[in-house]
């Protein structure tokens, strides 16, 4: 029984948030410029890529969020503004400044994000046009357009919203995100924007975002590569009118659980839409001695090229799973390991006590023929669990990444 309700919606579901997504000509034909705007200045929290090579907008935003407040996010796709030196930083700044002027808000309250090709400076005339158009088209229905405009090689939009109750006040959380290459544990080429009308303290917001990112975006892998632009930003404008949520309270718990759902949902959508993915894979490591062991183990398995190709080939190759577990760095005893394969077609044990157990190859084939596959690894060594999500490695991954982008 959850304390929240999933509703149709996205970043504009919470009170006071408007959004837009437009075509500015950075890409050839598709929408490429998005804006998210709060009618009131909001508390902000953010998590950025841990890559040492950071794109200009990431460097800029890291400065801007220091005061814990923001009011708008402007995003272009088609160009990452990464590895663009001093010029790139100036471009990111002027992108924020232009938007602040159009929106008539403080320069310091505009955050900027970019995603796309690395090493090419932004086409500033097109960026200017994007800002003008996106400012004009901000609306309560604009969340879907924004979700579309931030995509790169993604094949569908990622949107989610939930409604919760905080001390009798109706509160909303909404989000949009994009993948879908260079996705690895620890924030990859992904952008995620979450909004809420909750009144929540800066400290509690920051903690909730960081803790949920650890259990959502940081648990997905498409190809093990981590990008220069990864960013998750959350705005909380307080317009729901609830008493301010502080850390270590019952209300914080309710908020945290709803936010975790939102971020997990978006993370899973990103994994499902991994470049070239034909199957979605969930790796569940249970009964680990610590949460860190469960996390290490599940990430290692979901990230293994050999596991990914086995899933693509519908091959119950548990040897590859236990090998990936073995080099994960997680603490476990081989003799205690059981492995199961699961899908809508059923569940089958493929490894018992770290070794061979007879199972029906036909049943395994049937289970693996589904589009969504679970690998369950029971370490039988404690009480901690972790979930990681990824996708198979297909011919199309090679095709998408092995030829020049158009």
């Amino acid at each position: 029984m959850e304390d929240f309700e999933v509703i149709e919606g996205n970043v504009t579901s919470p009170k006071g948030f408007l959004a837009s997504g437009v075509f500015a000509g950075i890409k050839k034909a598709k929408k490429d410029f998005a804006m998210i705007y709060s009618e009131k200045k909001a508390n902000v929290a953010a998590v950025f890529t841990t890559n040492k090579v950071k794109a200009a907008p990431v460097i800029l935003d890291m400065e801007k969020i220091k005061n814990g407040e923001a009011q708008a996010i402007v995003v272009n796709s088609g160009n990452a503004n990464a590895c663009t030196g001093q010029k790139g930083y100036e471009d990111a700044s002027s992108m924020a400044n232009m938007a602040a002027k159009y929106l008539n808000i403080d320069i310091s309250d505009v955050l900027v994000c970019s995603t796309g090709v690395i090493g090419v400076t932004l086409p500033m005339d097109k960026i200017a046009k994007g800002i003008e158009l996106a400012s004009q088209r901000l609306s309560k229905d604009g969340g879907k357009d924004a979700a579309e405009a931030i995509l790169t090689t993604d094949t569908f939009t990622k949107e989610v919203a939930v409604k919760l109750n905080i001390k009798g006040y109706e509160v909303y959380i909404g989000g949009i995100a994009k993948g879908s290459g260079m996705i690895s544990p620890n924030m990859a080429t992904m952008l995620s924007f979450i909004t809420t009308d909750a009144d929540i303290s800066k400290k509690a917001l920051d903690k909730a975002l960081k803790e949920t990112v650890k259990r959502s975006y940081n648990m997905i892998s498409v190809d093990g590569d981590m990008s220069t632009n990864d960013t998750a930003i959350m705005l909380a404008n307080g317009m729901a009118g609830n008493p301010t949520i502080e850390e270590d309270t019952h209300e914080y718990e309710i908020f945290y659980n709803a936010l975790l759902y939102v971020n997990k949902h978006l993370a899973k959508q990103i994994a499902k839409d991994g470049e070239g993915a034909t199957k979605f894979m969930e790796v569940s490591v249970v009964n680990a001695p610590t949460e860190d062991d469960a996390i290490l183990a599940s990430k290692s398995i979901v990230n293994s090229n050999l596991v990914k190709t086995a899933i693509f080939g519908e091959d119950a190759n548990w040897g590859r799973i236990i090998a990936a577990l073995g080099y994960s760095g997680a603490n476990f005893s081989q003799d205690a390991v059981d492995i199961y394969l699961k899908s809508n077609k059923g569940i089958i044990k493929v490894c018992e006590n770290g070794g061979y157990v007879p199972f029906s190859e036909d049943k395994a084939k049937e289970i693996l023929s589904e589009k969504e596959i679970s690998i369950v690894v029971d370490l039988n060594a404690g009480k901690y669990d972790a979930l990681a999500w990824g996708c198979d490695l297909s011919y199309d991954y090679v095709k998408i990444n092995g030829s020049y982008r158009t």
Copy 2:
């Protein structure tokens, strides 16, 4: 000017070593059982997989090499004897015991290796047949057969031999190896057997093997997966008659350099024969602040799926290279990084001071059209270098690993 000469040969080039490779019926039709034998008891050094899940023969050999001596290595392909529990360990032991009986040597002096499918117990009747045949066919010309019998999905044998001079004595080092999937930095599904007739102390042998493994097999990557069976074993039987080589001497240096060549050569052959590889890739990181930084950086780049698919697609995508450098954990300053692409068709700078530099796309295409590609990353931050080797990620990698093996 090297102190050694490369000659045609392999593990039987050094004095007193015999070998054989036979068909025992573990595989469907190809040679699947190899033996390497020294006429005299030899000093032995070995390096094993760091995977927590270790195959039975690895566990057995780790015990057996503790006294620093061995006389024979028996190897089967087609079955890894991994994740086979107590039965697997007993099978590995009885494989050693049978061989000791046929060869009339101490049980403790026989090492065993297995490679192939995980989770299936060894067909001991066929193993027995393999031991019998391989013992009978031991010969001075058998190195090539042994090189063939240890292969799994490899497409060619890996063999090398060198001749060196130690204080006027002619000394030989020879080796054979196999890849070609589950290959990752830190000893992957690879077996490597090196023999020498040098007289070298146990301590010096152990040091030389470990140091050269670090700079050879541990610098290659095919798919980032690390196996349960990786093993490099070196036997030194002293039959060259040279004065014993000790650590920290001029003779040690000569020996070390020759051994490094042997192991690098075999490692590069493994990378060239990576599953589905269409191109060989060398990543050279130069002018790093420490050797560890150079190693981290070069391994991260060679292991990146996005770099590998870019090389497959002949795409001068330096953004992916610098992104992989960024998450490598190596210490460097982005503004100082220069990146070059190199092949027999020439060299081109594709990134300068961490950012865009104009270059001819046509020239880049021409360079990348070759079968052997070098990526040179100059960190301009110190005097340490490292080399890593790998291959591209192709449709065939997915094909080979995405369908049931036959």
